[in-house]
């Protein structure tokens, strides 16, 4: 393997997977190097073209007038919420499904938790006429019905996973299991910048369109690079996508904003971390095929993570991001559930952009550190918040947030939740 793709980011990364998958991983590594890195058969050209025509790229870099006035800083929004499907997820899903086609695969599989990656993959699968099966825990299916339906109407099979608690973690295992049986004709479209090499490098390269555009858009708007780039971090794919083209620019501060959940402390006994801040509080470990920062107990058992936003609720993080944090290039910070909810309402009211709850974390950090972040700040709006309405209503009702609109209207009119 070339040094470019040895799959290591410092000590992180690697390929910790069952042997049955290794040939597929090697085949994928080869395809990644040829098609993505070397643009063989014009793969990257086709990827970029489809992201324009089908995905809606470039997404705008919007000056946020009211936030800029509030913070006395030029705040720009990188509008990934405008991407087809409503989040940055499509950059990755379309890239991988297209790669699967170039590799001659006949079928794709993917796991999904809240359903964002599953819907993006189903859309990409329909667009590229690629049969698609999505594994999803049965608990998640019951609570994310709209996303399940979106996948079904895009023609994807959605297979309920009934083991364990029926959530993301079991869905990942079940997808790996399917892949281990079907590697020869199937590609596994992983949902974030995690997993064994070449996934982290490949997902980063697909998501890097974000910072490629943001960089030149910021140059055009300000005549210089921004002082800071902020992005929320769950697995870290929107994060690395937003950072990648700024990593070599020392003047640009990079902030990965994790979900502080309800508390940064952990309950070792119960194996529960009431947060998803693996960069801020996790330890080095091996999870889902890669060495990285992980929320785990002293033995190395993976903890249950928690966040008000389902998309950040993951116990690991991409190995490259972990490495950039260790080397000091990226600041790992976090905000709690309350601050994220407030930021959700603030952005909605001030800018007319309803962000995903994941995204809201980045804006909460901006609020807490107004002024400290330089004169020109780019915030990655990783997705739109339509999917979060129900959660926001419930979570807002439980709290006393002065910024939230009152919900009396809903009580008066009656009827169920959304």
């Amino acid at each position: 393997m070339s040094s470019k793709t040895d799959g290591k980011f410092g000590e992180y990364g690697g390929q910790y997977v069952p042997e049955a998958l290794m040939p597929a991983i090697e085949e994928l590594t080869d395809a990644y190097e040829r098609y993505v890195l070397d643009n063989e058969d014009g793969f990257m050209d086709e990827f970029r073209r489809r992201m324009r025509e089908f995905g809606g790229r470039p997404t705008p870099l919007q000056p946020a007038e009211q936030l800029s006035a509030r913070y006395d800083t030029d705040v720009y929004l990188k509008r990934e919420d405008l991407l087809h499907g409503g989040a940055h997820k499509l950059n990755n899903a379309l890239g991988q499904v297209l790669l699967a086609k170039y590799m001659g695969k006949e079928r794709i599989i993917a796991e999904t938790g809240a359903g964002q990656h599953g819907t993006a993959t189903a859309m990409a699968g329909a667009h590229l006429d690629m049969p698609c099966e999505i594994y999803m825990g049965e608990t998640d299916i019951a609570r994310q019905r709209p996303n399940v339906f979106r996948m079904r109407i895009n023609g994807a099979e959605v297979t309920p996973v009934t083991t364990g608690r029926g959530t993301l973690k079991e869905a990942i295992s079940e997808t790996m299991r399917d892949w281990a049986k079907t590697v020869e004709n199937t590609h596994y479209v992983i949902g974030s910048i995690v997993g064994p090499h070449p996934f982290p490098a490949m997902v980063r390269d697909f998501q890097a369109l974000i910072s490629e555009e943001a960089r030149s858009q910021a140059q055009e708007a300000e005549g210089r690079l921004p002082d800071a780039v902020l992005a929320c971090a769950g697995g870290g794919s929107n994060t690395m996508g937003a950072f990648h083209n700024f990593v070599d620019e020392e003047s640009v501060d990079l902030y990965a904003v994790e979900a502080g959940g309800s508390s940064l402390s952990v309950d070792e006994e119960a194996g529960v971390a009431p947060n998803s801040a693996s960069l801020s509080t996790g330890e080095e470990g091996v999870l889902h095929g890669a060495r990285t920062r992980v929320l785990q107990d002293g033995d190395g058992q993976i903890m249950e993570s928690h966040s008000v936003s389902a998309g950040l609720d993951y116990a690991g993080v991409g190995p490259e991001l972990a490495h950039l944090v260790d080397t000091g290039r990226v600041d790992a910070v976090n905000v709690d559930d309350d601050a994220a909810l407030e930021a959700f309402h603030r952005l909605s009211q001030l800018e007319g952009v309803i962000p995903a709850l994941e995204t809201a974390h980045a804006f909460a950090y901006l609020e807490e550190h107004r002024g400290d972040l330089g004169e020109s700040v780019v915030v990655n709006v990783s997705g739109r918040g339509d999917k979060d309405l129900e959660t926001v209503i419930e979570e807002t009702a439980e709290r006393d947030l002065s910024i939230a609109p009152d919900m009396d209207l809903f009580r008066e009119i009656g009827g169920g939740m959304l």
Partner: protein, 285 residues
């Protein structure tokens, strides 16, 4: 007795999850397997994200973890076990990598992570070898070195898709026995015996270590056909964990479950022995 000596006659290698469904029952189940004829026992140290397991074993792992199984407790379990056959610890790399033990100086430089403390403790508990399904040979050198230091074998799994360079790298590092995966997929009992088995066995035919075939073996007849095809042993997991799961579901007396496990072990061991008689030419006689 070294691990490979256990394969002098066609070996039956059962797998159970330590602590499934609870510490005490699990001890009696493992001991029942030896009574039934086990030659080596693969004992799972449960990990919360068992990406290589099928649903049966995954559920066993969930049961064991919720009953309190954990790394140090696993070693105590092994120490309490009253069996004579070699025990192989099957687990995922993160548990090995995170182990720091209690002695504090086990891992060399303070706070240094790595597999050495785990292997030292395993050796102390009398464990003969390790199988780590998420550790491919490319990432295995630190563990291989620790195993050498403390005299443990390191078993690798050869998949039906493993070929060329990868085979060579594994052959260099493997010891004890090679775990030949009978078919693509994860663990789980099935009703037929894969045609891939022959081809897989052939690829490791000239390796020096014994060849144990696993994945999907369920009956004495399966065992017989696999040994007849040239295997030195059969590895059986899900078919046994199924019996444990049924015991839980039906709330059966653990003694009855243990008896059923012993009977199943006898069936499988007998199958393996019967298979050896059909071989041409016999390899280990």
């Amino acid at each position: 007795m070294t691990l490979s000596d256990a394969f002098d006659e066609p070996a039956f290698v059962p797998y159970l999850v330590a602590g499934d469904p609870d510490f005490g029952s699990s001890l009696s189940y493992v001991e029942a397997l030896e009574r039934g004829g086990a030659d080596v026992i693969e004992l799972g140290l449960p990990f919360s994200e068992p990406i290589a397991e099928g649903p049966t074993i995954q559920e066993g792992i969930v049961r064991a973890l919720s009953a309190g199984m954990a790394t140090e407790r696993y070693f105590e379990f092994v120490e309490r076990l009253d069996v004579d056959v070699p025990i192989v610890c099957m687990t995922y790399y993160n548990l090995i990598y995170q182990y720091t033990g209690t002695s504090g100086d086990a891992g060399g430089a303070a706070g240094e992570r790595g597999p050495r403390p785990f292997v030292e403790r395993a050796a102390g508990a009398g464990i003969a070898g390790l199988v780590v399904p998420d550790l491919p040979p490319e990432e295995a050198s630190p563990l291989r070195a620790a195993c050498d230091e403390f005299g443990l074998d390191l078993v690798f799994i050869v998949a039906p898709t493993t070929r060329g360079d990868r085979l060579d790298r594994m052959r260099e590092q493997v010891s004890g026995y090679v775990y030949v995966q009978a078919r693509l997929g994860t663990t789980g009992a099935r009703d037929d015996v894969s045609e891939q088995t022959d081809a897989s066995l052939e690829r490791v035919g000239d390796w020096e270590v014994p060849k144990a075939v696993g994945f999907g073996i369920k009956t004495g007849e399966h065992a017989e056909r696999i040994v007849a095809a040239g295997a030195d042993g059969v590895i059986v997991g899900s078919a046994l964990v199924d019996i444990v799961a049924e015991g839980v579901a039906e709330d059966r007396d653990p003694a009855d479950v243990a008896a059923e496990l012993a009977a199943k072990a006898e069936e499988l061991k007998a199958g393996a022995l019967a298979g050896a008689k059909q071989r041409t030419p016999p390899e280990h006689t």
